[in-house]
Structures are given as structure tokens and as C-alpha cells.
Symmetry: C2
Subunit: 384 residues, 2 copies
Amino acid sequence: METSTHPGDELELSIDLRLAPGESAATRAAGIAREQTVELDLALVPEPVRAAAAGRVVAVAETGPHRAHARLAFPAAAAGAELPQLLNLLFGNISMQRGVRLTAVRWPEALLAAFPGPACGVDGLRARCGVTVRRPLLLATLKPLGLGASELAQLAGRLARGGIDLVKDDHSLADQPWAPFAERVARCQEAVAAANRHGRSCLYVPNLTGPIDRLGERVEMLTSLGVRAALIAPLLVGLDTVRSLAARSGLALLAHPSLSGALLGATHGFAPALLWGELFRLAGADGVIYPHAGNRFRFTRRECLDVAAALRRPLGAFAPAFPVLGGGMDAARIRRLRRLYGPDTIFLAGASLLGHPAPEEGAAALRHEIEREPSPPGRLSGSR
Amino acid sequence: METSTHPGDELELSIDLRLAPGESAATRAAGIAREQTVELDLALVPEPVRAAAAGRVVAVAETGPHRAHARLAFPAAAAGAELPQLLNLLFGNISMQRGVRLTAVRWPEALLAAFPGPACGVDGLRARCGVTVRRPLLLATLKPLGLGASELAQLAGRLARGGIDLVKDDHSLADQPWAPFAERVARCQEAVAAANRHGRSCLYVPNLTGPIDRLGERVEMLTSLGVRAALIAPLLVGLDTVRSLAARSGLALLAHPSLSGALLGATHGFAPALLWGELFRLAGADGVIYPHAGNRFRFTRRECLDVAAALRRPLGAFAPAFPVLGGGMDAARIRRLRRLYGPDTIFLAGASLLGHPAPEEGAAALRHEIEREPSPPGRLSGSR
């Protein structure tokens, strides 16, 4: 994925197009440039307005039968320095066409500067976990949905004692009757704090995703309990809500990909590195959870590595953010992926820990895996 | 689309599946039921938890080569009566698979009752427009992006004088330098109010879509100016933000489909009637804007009619909401579609008005079209 900051005051979008039989790539690209800005036939747009506000085609090339690649430029001012409008500019009305896939954006520095990005980033989150060496972090999930608050808290304590760095709520734990938000959060935080009094520095990460008008009171509750990180699903609450929380809550934020997969079609939508790697980070995620290739989801290894690269590469003044790799993570898989992803990575263990007869022992085994020297580059990294 | 309220305390989802070669429909459906609730192998889930919280397969049938239809039931309690979690339950993690299309939901009454739905609905919005007879309403758009606030306001006044019922901001008008939010809204509202002093009852509908932490002050600004309706794009600000605005703002809300098309894939995502017709209405939209078939977007006539039916059919205690039809609406098209969609419809005219040398005359012609007796059922409605 080609991504960098744009020297001028334009955003430049790279778009893969599928064309209808007989459709001209140039006409289609020009239509998209119009649709996303002035949304009128240019003959109806006064010349000064057209020059200031209309999108334009930089280049277009056919890349195969009924396929084309286009580069479009939009004035940065059209984004209005607001994240909802930036999303609208990138993929608003064209979301209702077919065969438009946004693969990369060159960002003007001035636009990036309007968004603070991650408040903690890789270094800040590692510090909150009390990890002073540069190693991957371990994240475990409290589940299943349906368990009571006491049972979840007991599990949280066992995982923390075993040496897990971050213990998060399952993304489906909201405010259900089985373990209501307030009770669950208080008990889990208490259990993790108790483990920390015996030599651990685990962070409890409750799921903050919830009604928009209750986020303020929930942030206050978390703060008063000493919670320092939270899980949030940007597509469930709106990406701009993440920006607002990053700017104001004081919490480190892990972004969950719930619902966002619908925007990542093979021929329509966003490339994963753009949505998860750049937009989630721009909004302020300190880590972004997604499934590494080779499990029940559908992403390729290349796409997954591109997300990690996008989260950590220089972009504006943003702190780098953690890729948080999920999907069937057990000790063997973590051992293989450690070299490939490097130390600025979080591994998310789910079923492999919960299926263990003694979760603290399972956690300790993973912690051992994380703390030992990584093996020298092997087949996986060699084939990267 | 089959939709009704569910008598019990379960949501029942209808899902079309694309299967990989050799994949079992039953196994795939069971995997989805698990993935969306307990998210663990059932062997790891204690029996009482499984019974209370796990999704289950009601029925599954192969419907063609590599195609299947499944009905799944989820406990209503799993939704936690919160809209972000409801979205997560419907299409959270499975958004990251391929070939899962949610076509209908049977809603438990108790869950629907947790959401107030449209605050105004069809009757309330018609009343705000001062329309005392049951006829379609006319909506026009102020654009293009790049025009100054005075020019947009002048256009708003001309459209109002011509007899347009609602004049809205283009969905791309946010807070750009060319026409900043505060200045644009004040001038446009003033221009429409001036037209109303000469016998019109036009509503100005500014675009409220913007940063989440500025929505409160913007609602106050609108209220203080006497604005009584607003445009909001649920996917740009989060669907739950619409619910919160519907419950608290006092504004009638028109929902814009920006970005939402990415969730409406032919084989993956939501059926338009479910997303636009049911979820947008459940969140509180009084009208939902979408393009009628046969223009530059990709929806079929059947899908478009299904959206309108979903917006208006009995569902919980929700007021019916308006379908708001856009996409190349001129007098000829409105004449044809009037019979098909009936009087509880809003027609959105864009380019046809802005391309007119005298917008007030173009508006008057459309108003004439709306006010005359509709022609008797013709070919279009006959072929419905």
C-alpha cells in the first residue's frame, strides 16, 4: 500500500475500479471525483467554485478487463477538518455504487494536524502495562457472554496472576442482565488490582462501547475505579466518538473491528490497512484488534501485515499504534508470528486460555513464550 | 422481505449464506450463531450459560449450489437494550467473514420498546411543513460544496418561494471555510423564514452531521434560530447518535445514506430494507434518504420499494417514517413514481432544480406536480 503525506493541500486517493461492460474508466473516475465533492454536473458549477472545491482526476489507467486504477485529488478544505466529513469525502455516496475500492490516501500534513491521533501509542500503552523492555504484550479476553460478573472477575484475576499484560472484556459484554456494566467493571478491576498487589502490572480493559449519551458517565466511573484503558468498537459508536474519547477520556483505547468487516470488500470498500491502520489510528486508537490470516476470517497475510505497517509507520505527528492480533492465538502460533510482527505487537489469546483447565497456567505458558528471546528469522519472516 | 415482531423473547435473523466448496450449511450456520454470542466452542461454555446466552440455529436449508438460507435465534437479553450492542449482535464479527447477508429480523416487542423510534414520523413531519393534506412532500438540496453562505441562502430563499416543502443542506456541507456552519445555518434559516412570511411554510434542514462533541452546541444553535429539522448521516456519526438526537434534540431528523452503501453488498451485509428501513427507523429517523432505482446507483426497484414498505409498516409502537427518494428526480420522474410510492413519500430534487435558470420556477413546477391529483394507476404500479 502506497501511503504518505501529501506536500500540498490536497488529499490524493488511490482507487481500484470495476467497470461495467463498455464503461469508460476516465468517465467513471471523473464521475466519482464529482460525486464526492460538488455532486453536480460541472456545467452547473460556477468556475471559481469548481476550482476551489471540486475533486479532479490525477491519473487513470485500465489495469485489466473491466478494471482500472484511478488517482483522484480533493481539496483538503473539503474535509472541513471534521472526521465525519472526512469519511463522507472518502467514501460517502460512492459507497452506494459497486466496484469502488479505496486502497490508499496521501494525506496533507495540515489535515493530519487537525487530528491528534493516539494519546498513548505504543510506548505509552507499554508503560501503562508496566513493561519496561521492548517485547510484545499479551492480551486475554473475558468471556463468554452469559457468565456472571463474579465469574468474569475470578477469571480476570487468574489471567492477571498468570502474567497476562492486558485483560479485556469480550466485545459482546455490554450491559446485559448477566453481568451489568457497573458491577462487572468494578469486580473485574478489583480482581486485577488484587493480582497486581502480588507483583503483577496487568491492565483491565473494559468494553466502553455503549450508548453515546452514557459514555461520559461510564468514563467517569472507569476513572474513579482506576481503570486506565478501554475497548471501543469504532463502527458501533462512530469513528468520531473514538476521536473524542482519545482527546478527552484519559483512557488508552483498543479498537475492536466489530461491523467494520462490512466495509472491507474485495472489490468495494476500503483496504484493511487504510481503514484499520490509518483511519482507526487517526481517530486515536492506541491498538487495533484484527484477526491475523489463517483462521475463520478471510484476510490474507499480506493484508494483515499491511495493517501493522500502517499502524506503526510515520504519519503526521501521530504516535505509532499497536497491531493487536487475534484469531486462534496459542503458544505455537505466537511463537511463529513473533518474528514476523516484531516486538511492537499485542497478541490476543481467547479460546486457548479459556479452554485451559487452569487459566493462570495457560497464561504463564504464553508469558514464557513472550519473554524468551525470539528465535532467529525463520521460514515465515524469510518469505515475507 | 419477511418481517414481523417476534412473540417470544428472541430475535430471529434470516441470513443468506454463500458456502465454500465442501462447506456444510449446518456447520456454517452453527458457527455464526456461536460467533455472534458466546464466541467459543460450546464445549467450553457451561450449560446454564449456553442455554441463557448462546445463539442457536432454528432452521437451515441449501438453496442452490454453495448457497443456503439460515434462520438463527438470539436471546433478546444478549442485545442489552443498547443500540451499539444490537448492531454487534446482528453483524459484528461476521462482518469479517464473506458471504453472510442479513435479510430480515423478527424483533421481540420488548426489545423494540427500548427504542422510541421516530419522534415526529410521517404525520409529525408533515405538520412541521404546514401541509394539511395527505400529499407527498418536496425536498430540495442546497449545493454545491464551495458556494458561499450568502449564495446558498439566496438559493434557499428562491426554492422556498417556489413552494418547496423542505430545503436541506447538501450532505457534504459541514464546516468548510467557504460556508462555515454557523454562518450558513443562520443565513439560510433567515432566507427561508423571509419566504415563509410571504405565505410559505418551508422547513430549512441543515446538515447536523459533524464532530460528536459539538453536536450539543449545534443543536442549541439550531433551536435558538428556530430550526426544526436536521440532516444526519447515521454511518458517519454512529447509529446510536441518531437515537440520542431523536430522543433529546427536538429536531425532526432526515437520515442520509452516506457510507452506508458499503454495508449493503449483494452477497454480504444487510438488505437495504433492514438497514435503511428498520434500523434507521428504530434509531429515530423521521425520513430516510436513498436513491430510487434507475440512476447512477445500484439498487433494484424491488429493494427500493421494500425500504419504503419497511419504513411505513407497523413495527412496535414506532411512528411510520418517510421514504425520501433521490437520484435524478425531475417532474417527469416524480409523476411516474407518485403512484408507485403513494402520498407518504418525500421526493428529493437536486440537479433538476439547480440546473434551472430560475430555481423558483423549477420549484413551482414540481409543486404543481405534487399538488395535482395523481393519475390513475398505470403501468408502473400495475407491474409492482
